[in-house]
Symmetry: C2
Subunit: 599 residues, 2 copies
């Protein structure tokens, strides 16, 4: 129906008769002449209908925005002075010789100025996707998956599909359930990840598996969460964590090179403990130059209990962030707001110190400084602090003093906020690997797996692990980019004794282990190979690469924050007969009965 | 952990020290020497441990089948006379210098002679997949999807993901339901296909969409059905049915060329009516040389009512299949069995005629023939019959006479059975397109869509269609290979008036249309482009290409015929608290209460 795409017409076609299909992006009339911007997936081209062809211009006169048309015309150079350098096809135009209206369009329910609510955008998603920004994101995403597939397949990874209707998975979030008709009263779960299946594929000798696969979590939604999301899922046999990191880092590096012409370079590696210490986060944004600096040693003898308490507590932390040239940027009110902000993360206050004259401050320990806590500090403490923080005239120093995690989290959050508010970010892309995570964290006397319970410890036997689980590090790795976790993975346990030890540490009884993971434990008996893997969040990766502000903007048909689809009206009511076939009933009626009886 | 794969070791490595990882496929001891066949994804290699290295052979001595090991060794030529030409690595062997046992294996629960029940194979799927036949199928499938993606992406198709949690779809089979937690009492449905989403993507201007995507149907299972299956899903804008057929035929032709070195040639096209007439099937297996031949005109005046009744009925059919050299192959008992067989398809009997001497038969109309119905036929009827059927000495002719569909289906089934039983199939691959389907079929006075209700008619206006729906042909096409439907599709309706007309013909009320497809109808208002598409069944395609006998054999983790997974024990019981959160309850308890009260 067309000879080429609108966006492809160029000066080489001048003089040719062509056929185009697309949508009327805009119509302008100049006297008796009608100008159309005709749009298809590949771009826009200007079509001109002039009154020499009365039949055709009569038809052209009926055109409105978003009519779908087929046009025949002759390409010609635009007249001198009408060349549009901002437009790919701006050097030419198409003189319209014929016109077929393929479909009319009512006025669109979406504003072209894009101030539409997200609800409206999702209800008319098919119109929202016509915007070139959205079309480009879909195209970009398709190119990303294509490049990822090429890269992995070139390295011998096999694309193998795993089930969507499966058993409850061990990831810990809430599963979506699917009632079974042939096994009434029983349920499938939608996978939170293909974790166990990909491990089983290693046990089946597939050696290198990948899949770009939908995963599901029934959690309350945030900007970067969706009920269904897509993972680039990878698993390998006979590879160390270093090798997995190399392979996947190479893949991401090549992806950025191909798609964005960006060289990410070698990714630095940072132990979890260092990330928490310096940045208060296990996914530090290294574009942010601010760092958290420990000062407990300097302040452990001050009379001010807010400082000396945590400074002398093994589980406490006293630390600062020094913001270069930040002193002038915070009024009293601004400081109060920041104090409120860190309060969200549990900080009970946020002492600060402005450096108005660093020379005077270093000389006197008090002059040239402004701070509500100055009175508690001795001269040598002040100078040691200023030197440790490398403070300069005009800087402001913020203090955190509390339990270790409270200080790390609140100063970590403060660091991010200041980085954004004060526009401190440096460089465009800052990737890193975070490694050496603890195996477990202790909460209320119970041990929890930091990753999932199939993660192997680094260089420990099962006996050594059980002897000192708190100190054990896992052979896990997270890839972080600009403060976002792009992906994470680990070496898995391939040894039955080790797996049993981890279950014991986690307080999972033999019965529970057998019931939930019996098939995995059994599989470990039959020559399971050493294996390791990783999963990337595709939606988030594409969001970062396209600069979109939400993963919803890089999905064709996302859900709202209440997990609904305004376009198809899903979820909807079910046929009661079908529920009966499934051996199910809703509690709706019951509730209605109750409500009635209370009236 | 390895320097190369087992299956890759060859004579170019002789003299080199290499490291291999894999599984002990077989161990043989010859005196003090231990021979291992070591297996990995790429194949087998022979490893020899001899007593010169006492430490190592002591370890080797503990090896059992399926132990997972890492070996270091030196490649050497096999001694004269021990070269194994049937083995890819049969010219060399590896002298074992060191050995690390990565994991032990208990004796496998599966027989190596592969007489395992399907239940057992699925329970230990990870072991079943270790068989080279299964590994090869998974690898073949991965190559197929990769080739399909390359082909489509090379033609500008964009891979766009559509939702798995969605609204009930219009395909007509039973949906899997997913209860919503945030909208209690309401349900998502898992898609039977992304039909409406891919049409919406055309309305959004994506122009060329594809996806290799999971689809779901809660139906009772047969050999080639699974609760979840995978489609190669395609949709295009501004393309005619001819163009869609060209693009997808090219894709399949290239696929067979690349994967199997088979040239399928140009696919013939056959109208649905011809397929039903000549083969009694809308997916004829053209490898089968038998055809159904109409003979109503010859038999409409016989006294035998079984023939003359249908022969004079507009909705009847009288036809034969002539089996070359088939006369000697059917005893009385064999003929009785065939009669029973066609009975399944509604045939009330199956007259037959053996041609023992064609010259005598043509000369006399009765001699040289053997048949229970000969007495009803006049000489000119017999000779006309024999000539129409092109009968030769030694042939047998089977008759069908009944309603048109009964004759077509029963003789169609008979044709397939005879083709298989008598090994008549000719050629390896016989593709074709079946086209010109009727739009509707009338059942009990109601019109049903042969394809789905979004299928466009061929060359008809909405008015013409409504005036004569029974005679209307749809612009749909099925790709058939060796009697299997590989894929099917159609030009879609892009015009609101036409869609409304089809809904009226189908007896779908405005309210029902609005409720089920309101968003589609609304979308047609806003310049929806002409569009068309097709979907292939990937599982079936791979099954055919690999010669597997079930789609289960080309899926990594299929379900049983009762839609269960013996490996993970899915489906399973749900946590009652989670059901409560979903506003659901099972009828189990209720039933248990009833059962108790009846005791």
């Amino acid at each position: 129906m067309r000879s080429l795409y609108c966006g492809e017409v160029n000066e080489s076609h001048i003089g040719q008769e062509i056929t185009l299909c697309g949508w009327v992006n805009k119509r302008r009339d100049l006297g008796a002449v009608i100008f159309l911007d005709l749009r298809d997936r590949e771009g826009l081209v200007q079509v001109v209908y002039d009154p020499d062809l009365p039949e055709v211009i009569k038809k052209a006169n009926t055109l409105r925005n978003e009519f779908c048309v087929q046009i025949k015309g002759r390409v010609r150079a635009r007249p001198e002075g009408q060349v549009n350098k901002d437009m790919k096809t701006g050097a030419i135009e198409v003189l319209g010789l014929d016109l077929t209206i393929l479909n009319k369009s009512a006025p669109l329910p979406l504003d072209s100025n894009q101030t539409n609510s997200e609800e409206l955008r999702l209800k008319y998603r098919y119109l929202d996707l016509r915007r070139s920004e959205m079309t480009e994101r879909m195209r970009f995403r398709a190119k990303v998956t294509s490049a990822v597939r090429s890269s992995l397949e070139g390295q011998g990874f096999l694309d193998i599909e795993t089930p969507i209707l499966t058993a409850a998975t061990p990831e810990g979030a809430r599963d979506y359930l699917v009632p079974s008709r042939t096994h009434k009263g029983q349920f499938f779960a939608l996978p939170q990840s293909p974790q166990l299946f990909k491990q089983l594929l290693m046990m089946s000798g597939m050696e290198r598996y990948y899949q770009i696969v939908k995963c599901f979590r029934d959690e309350d939604l945030r900007a970067d969460r969706q009920p269904e999301f897509t993972q680039i899922d990878i698993e390998t046999s006979f590879m160390s964590s270093d090798q997995v990191m190399e392979v996947t880092e190479k893949m991401i590096r090549e992806l950025f090179q191909t798609m964005l012409d960006v060289d990410l370079g070698d990714f630095p590696r940072m132990p979890y403990s260092e990330a928490m210490r310096r940045f208060g986060s296990d996914k530090p944004d290294l574009r942010n130059p601010l760092e958290i600096i420990d000062v407990a040693d300097i302040l452990k003898d001050v009379e001010f209990k807010v400082f000396s308490g945590p400074a002398n507590d093994e589980k406490g932390r006293v630390a600062v962030i020094c913001v270069p040239q930040g002193a002038a940027k915070f009024s009293r009110k601004g400081l109060d707001e920041l104090t409120k902000y860190v309060g969200i993360y549990g900080a009970k206050g946020m002492p600060w110190l402005k450096v108005n004259d660093i020379d005077a401050a270093l000389a006197t320990g008090s002059e040239g400084l402004q701070s509500p806590i100055l009175k508690f500090l001795a001269k040598d403490q002040v100078t040691a602090l200023l030197e440790r923080a490398n403070a300069k005239t005009g800087d402001i120093i913020f203090f955190g003093a509390d339990q270790y995690n409270v200080v790390s989290e609140s100063l970590g959050a403060l660091r991010l906020k200041l980085g954004e508010d004060l526009e401190l970010l440096q460089g465009e892309w800052k990737p890193l690997w975070v490694v050496d995570f603890p195996m477990f964290e202790e909460v209320d006397g119970h041990m929890h797996a930091i990753h999932h319970p199939f993660t192997a410890p680094t260089n420990l036997t099962a006996e050594e692990l059980e002897a000192n689980p708190v100190g054990a590090l896992s052979d896990a790795y997270d890839m972080v980019l600009n403060g976002c976790e792009l992906g994470g993975g680990s070496v898995r346990i391939h040894n039955q004794d080790m797996q049993a030890a981890v279950f014991r540490i986690l307080g999972i009884s033999d019965e529970e282990a057998e019931e939930k993971f019996g098939f995995l434990l059994e599989a470990l008996q039959y020559g399971a190979p050493p294996h390791a893997g990783l999963a990337f969040g595709l939606d988030r990766l594409v969001m970062l690469m396209t600069g979109a502000s939400s993963i919803r903007d890089v999905m064709a048909f996302p859900k709202t924050t209440t997990a609904a689809c305004p376009l198809t009206n899903a979820p909807g009511n079910a046929n009661p007969d079908q529920l009966k076939e499934l051996g199910m009933t809703t509690l709706e009626e019951e509730k209605q009965d109750e409500a009635a009886s209370q009236e």
